[in-house]
């Protein structure tokens, strides 16, 4: 019986080790990406935010537009020219796929408008927007840095406000559309060789 017990110990340890090895502890849910090929190379993807239902946080100096209820926006003078919003972000099928923060700061040398988009299953994007909108109303931003899936990409993101015209009772007031136009950067030959070897 002692031998059976000892064999059980070994089997139990092996079973736990096997389970930890083979069963993923974390399994992020993935929505199918809706990406199309841009005519001049690269790819394009359309993301949007339904307003106001996708707004997690809104903070601005003075606290008049503070959201959610009960949030205390800092009133330190150093933050007097900074406002930020946090949103849920959706894909073209209107499914939530991530979160994003948009910060606007008025500075002497020019306004700063930054986006960070975080898609848990894919990675993150850091975008600097041009403070001056285009004549057609949209604003163009450059991808400054990407994490994980977006790390080797460069390109632009277009931001625009689209008002709702459906007239439906429960329709959002409008949506912020973000259209990414990204292209992979060509790696130097030695780095490509390393990747293949891996």
């Amino acid at each position: 019986m002692l031998k059976t017990f000892l064999v059980g110990i070994l089997l139990g340890a092996a079973a736990v080790a096997g389970a930890l090895y083979s069963i993923p502890v974390v399994d992020q849910y993935r929505e199918v990406s809706i990406i199309s090929v841009a005519p001049n190379g690269g790819n394009t993807e359309s993301l949007h935010i339904n307003m106001p239902m996708d707004r997690i946080m809104a903070g601005a100096p003075g606290g008049s537009a503070a959201w959610p209820v009960g949030m205390k926006w800092p009133d330190d003078p150093i933050l007097a020219n900074v406002s930020s919003e946090i949103f849920k972000i959706r894909n073209a099928r209107d499914a939530v796929i991530g979160v994003a923060v948009r910060t606007v700061a008025r500075e002497e040398g020019g306004d700063v408008i930054d986006w960070v988009i975080h898609l848990p299953a894919r990675g993150s994007l850091f975008i600097n927007m041009d403070p001056q909108p285009q004549d057609s109303g949209e604003r163009i931003g450059r991808l400054q840095s990407g994490a994980r899936e977006f790390e080797p990409l460069t390109g632009f993101v277009e931001e625009r406000w689209v008002s709702d015209t459906s007239g439906e009772e429960d329709a959002p007031a409008g949506r912020i559309e973000l259209v990414t136009r990204l292209i992979g950067t060509l790696l130097p030959e030695n780095e490509r060789t390393e990747e293949v070897a891996e």
């Binding site: 059980g8 959610p68 946090i86 849920k88 910060t103 700061a105 975080h118």
Partner: protein, 237 residues
């Protein structure tokens, strides 16, 4: 029958022994010394509250141990963002003065390997420092030490709590030395790529509320560029 009982008892004992051995494996864990502790470059230190009720906003799926703050904030209940948390905090500098705003998005990582002592969280920070510029910090954090040194003892405690002094570097990548990748986005930092390390100091943790006393810290190695003049830790001391 007694052989089956002995086998089942052995299986349970073996599983438990393996789990205990894994949890207290002395070879697992993050480096105690920050890679930036020995840098020749100037560094800037930004502190933030690790207690969620001291943040501007904290939200998650609403079913986790740490409750969203404030109470009525939108929760991240949709499947693709259910394993993600969002935090907005005021950042302070080495003099305990407000330095700017920080936003952290953190998601549990599929690169988690408990057999290797890796409880990984992929996170990004957006930091805005008025008058100086913006920073984007991309990192992988390993919470293994945190779980082993704080969470497990708290669950074993009859008070469901842990008290003590714990300090750990959370960042383990993507930099080869266990550093975060920091990209400057605007102002003085525009166009610069830097290194960073996030650490946490915890004094109290509760099973139902998470961290109840503690601070976090971001240390960023500044590029060797004379145009960036920052009140560094050395100057502050």
């Amino acid at each position: 029958m007694k052989y089956i009982l002995a086998l089942l008892l052995g299986l349970a004992t073996g599983g438990a022994l393996f789990a205990v051995g894994l949890a207290y494996n002395p070879f697992f864990g993050n480096a105690d010394l920050s890679p930036l502790a020995v840098t020749d470059s100037q560094t800037v230190m930004l502190g933030y509250p690790a207690v969620t009720t001291e943040s501007i906003v904290f939200t998650n799926d609403g079913e986790s141990r740490v409750q969203p703050h404030p109470e009525k904030v939108l929760q991240l209940w949709e499947a693709p963002i259910r394993q993600t948390s969002v935090m907005a905090v005021v950042l302070w500098d080495g003099r305990n003065q407000t330095a700017g705003l920080g936003f952290k998005f953190a998601s549990t990582s599929e690169s988690t390997r408990l057999l290797d002592g890796r409880a990984i969280v992929d996170s990004v920070w957006y930091v805005y420092l008025p008058g100086r510029g913006s920073l984007f910090i991309e990192q992988s954090e390993n919470y293994w030490d945190f779980l082993r040194d704080i969470v497990l003892p708290a669950y074993r405690s009859s008070a469901d709590a842990w008290r003590g002094q714990w300090h750990g570097n959370m960042t383990v990548g993507p930099g080869a030395l266990g550093t975060a990748k920091v990209t400057g986005g605007a102002g003085d930092f525009l166009g610069h790529t830097m290194l960073g390390v996030e650490s946490q100091s915890v004094r109290a943790w509760h099973v139902d509320r998470g961290v109840i006393a503690g601070e976090g810290q971001l240390v960023i190695e500044l590029p060797t560029n004379p145009s960036i003049e920052f009140a560094t830790e050395a100057e502050e001391l």
